[in-house]
């Protein structure tokens, strides 16, 4: 974990794709933003997003590049939760399709439709991103740079 002096709040963690770390990071993020924002609801939404993004990263990260990175940056008007990892091109294409799909309709309708579809198929839920979008009210952004995937969940903050 490290700090950057020119931002109001910034935390970054880099670790191997171990499932057992996710719960620990979620609890830390919730506690950190409970104090930093004094807004329990926002802190819980941010920590849920961090947890869902990390779960995706651990499940779908490239096995050859064994690390992932989470950074959380709080500026005046928003909190940006970013999870970064290396991924294979097939996974990147799946993610791009997923992003197009979850942004193709009203979030609640998309969420319910994805739930119904997921219930009919075996395997992974693929509900994490739409959950962040709908339940936590975050904006999602996908950046890909030379096989490195960054997914941002951006939370607007109420200005005083």
């Amino acid at each position: 974990m490290q700090g950057r002096a020119n931002l109001s709040d910034y935390v970054e963690m880099r670790f191997g794709p171990r499932w057992t770390y996710i719960s620990c990071v979620r609890k830390f993020v919730a506690s950190f933003f409970m104090i930093g924002l004094a807004d329990k609801e926002r802190a819980e939404q941010i920590s849920m997003a961090a947890s869902e993004l990390l779960e995706n990263a651990v499940k779908y990260a490239s096995e050859e590049e064994g690390y992932l990175k989470i950074s959380i940056e709080k500026q005046n008007n928003e909190v940006d939760v970013c999870v970064k990892n290396k991924a294979e091109s097939q996974q990147i294409n799946t993610l791009r399709r997923e992003f197009a799909l979850i942004h193709a309709g009203q979030p609640e309708m998309v969420y319910l439709k994805k739930m119904e579809e997921a219930a009919m198929t075996e395997g992974q839920s693929r509900l994490g991103l739409i959950r962040i979008l709908f339940e936590a009210g975050a904006k999602l952004r996908l950046d890909v740079n030379e096989g490195e995937v960054s997914i941002h969940a951006i939370f607007p903050l109420e200005t005083a």
Binding site: W19, I22, S23, R26, K40, E41, E44, Q45, M48, S51, E52, E55, V58, K59, E108, Y111, L112, M115, E116, A118, A119, M120, Q124, S125, L127, G128, R131, F134, E135, A136
Partner: protein, 126 residues
């Protein structure tokens, strides 16, 4: 007459079922954040569903107020249960949640929209 059924305890999660007259009640505590919760939860929900049908209970009540987190894979296990119940409704599924817990307040009413005739979200203050 009250009767206790076999509970489920796995990786930081506990589910204790009990029969109270015409109601089957499940109390969940801990967190659902394992990698593949469906491995254990899907067969457990199926067993509860079969138990509820064989006993002709009017409702199954799942109390999640002490559940501090559920990941989306855990949500999917409930979606699978609700989907089966929607096709063949034999009882009402009542989910008691704490309105002060953000994920519960956002996830449970959404889940209920999958089958509003059989799923009843019951928000409690604490």
């Amino acid at each position: 007459m009250n009767e206790t059924l076999t509970p489920l305890t796995i990786e930081g999660l506990s589910i204790v079922p009990a029969v109270h007259d015409t109601k089957l009640r499940l109390t969940m505590s801990g967190a659902v954040e394992m990698r593949d919760p469906g491995e254990m939860l899907n067969p457990f929900w199926t067993r509860i569903d079969e138990e509820a049908r064989s006993r002709n209970v009017q409702s199954v009540e799942v109390d999640i107020r002490d559940l501090n987190f559920m990941n989306s894979s855990g949500i999917l296990t409930l979606v699978r249960w609700i989907t089966k119940l929607k096709v063949s409704a034999a009882y009402r599924l009542v989910i008691r949640y704490d309105r002060n817990v953000t994920w519960q307040r956002s996830s449970i009413p959404t889940l209920a929209k999958l089958a509003p005739n059989v799923v009843v979200p019951l928000d409690i203050n604490g």
